[in-house]
């Protein structure tokens, strides 16, 4: 069955520290992969996406992600976290045969001052 797994429910980092949020997918077809961020009480904002090509993608707010087909992973990274990055992060996946996203369960990021 198709699935997206975010193994870390909560992550706490200090401001200025580096960040990596994990995402693993299970899909039979070539995946389209996304990372979204959601602040409390808000909708989802797209950080970055991967459709094809260069496996290292740059996004907004200083985020990047790397697609690794051999590991079925699409991990999100940021070299230096800011307090304003505290939010919930969702990884999502779809394929060419459907409009439906499969979402991961989300990772809640807390940033310590």
């Amino acid at each position: 069955a198709q699935s997206v797994t975010q193994p870390d429910i909560h992550i706490t980092v200090s401001e200025g520290a580096s960040l990596e949020l994990r995402c693993n997918y299970s899909y039979g077809a070539t995946p389209y992969l996304f990372w979204y961020v959601q602040s409390p009480g808000q909708g989802l904002q797209l950080l970055l996406k991967y459709f094809s090509g260069d496996t290292l993608v740059q996004g907004i707010k200083g985020f990047e992600a790397e697609f690794k087909r051999s590991q079925s992973s699409f991990n999100l990274r940021k070299p230096s976290v800011h307090w304003s990055d505290a939010a919930e992060y969702f990884c999502a996946c779809t394929t060419s045969g459907t409009y439906k996203y499969i979402f991961g369960t989300g990772t809640r990021l807390k940033v310590l001052a």
Binding site: F34, G43, F90
Partner: protein, 113 residues
């Protein structure tokens, strides 16, 4: 700016009293989606429209209906809200087969008394 707009942002209704949530878009996208998101969970797709073609998820309760009178607008009708329907309702759009990136509105927070 092109965007997805949801009204109202907060809606309070009584148990069993019908309620309608509204979504409009200025992106001229072909596909519109309605998601239900409960606290600390990933968004759950209720249904989507590709143009006028309605696609219901198999596990969406009959209590939830949707209308798309034109390209720009889509409505979510909850015929008899129960306490379990209290949630954030997110509307999203995407261009269509050539581009599966979804753009989300800010959401409507529904409270059922």
């Amino acid at each position: 700016d092109a965007m997805v707009i949801q009204n109202p942002r907060y809606q309070v209704t009584q148990f069993g009293k019908p309620v309608t949530l509204s979504c409009s878009q200025t992106l001229n996208h072909n596909v519109m989606y309605w998601y239900q998101q409960k606290s600390s969970q990933a968004p759950k797709l209720l249904f989507h429209y590709y143009d006028k073609d309605f696609n219901n998820e198999a596990d969406t309760p009959d209590n939830f209906q949707s209308r798309r009178p034109n390209t720009s607008f889509c409505f979510l009708d909850i015929r008899s809200p129960g306490l379990g329907d209290a949630a954030m309702y997110l509307c999203a759009t995407s261009r269509g087969p050539s581009n599966r990136e979804q753009f989300f509105g800010p959401g409507t927070r529904l409270t059922v008394l």
